[in-house]
Amino acid sequence: MKIGRVIGRVWATAKDEHLESRTVLLVRPLDLNGQATGQAYLAVDSVDAGAGETVLVVDEGNSAGQVLGLDQPPIRTVIVGVVDEVDVGRSA
């Protein structure tokens, strides 16, 4: 899984039926210092994540299907948690 920040969302009328009534959010990857790193990507929300929140994202199809309660969806990237805190145990 990976950590990112919600920076936006996208609307689509014409979409695959597995995405009906789903929220698709734009997520910017974060490094362990909370700094933006790399290209933003789109993820399906499953936890009512909001703009600016730090989130936990799974990028694997079987997990996506399980979380969304769908059988074999064409979806692999899903927000599965809102991160309260990350502690990597680095000593000063």
Partner: protein, 92 residues
């Protein structure tokens, strides 16, 4: 999933039988600002796109799941036509 722009169409008469009936588009991946982001690729079209459309697409095996029952050899599929997006609170 990622943003892309539809820039063309691929026609193939001789192909794997499971690909029959699946439109193939050439897409240019773009970032949230519309800037090109990587090399163009061929993606299966689930949502009847037209050239110039801004879309989002999924990579890897999940692409095939957009065409249930076909078990087609696909590694990219267009899942939605973007009506609008918002990034950092601004329309994008």
């Amino acid at each position: 999933m990622h943003f892309a722009r539809v820039i063309g169409t691929v026609w193939a008469t001789q192909k794997d039988p499971t690909l029959k009936g699946i439109p193939l588009r050439v897409i240019q991946p773009v970032d949230e600002t519309g800037a090109e982001n990587g090399e163009p690729l061929v993606a299966a079209d689930r949502v009847s796109t037209r050239e110039g459309d801004r879309v989002y697409f999924v990579r890897a095996r999940e692409a095939a799941k957009a065409f249930p029952g076909k078990f087609a050899p696909l590694d990219a599929a267009i899942l939605g036509i973007v009506d609008g997006a918002q990034v950092d609170g601004e329309d994008a």
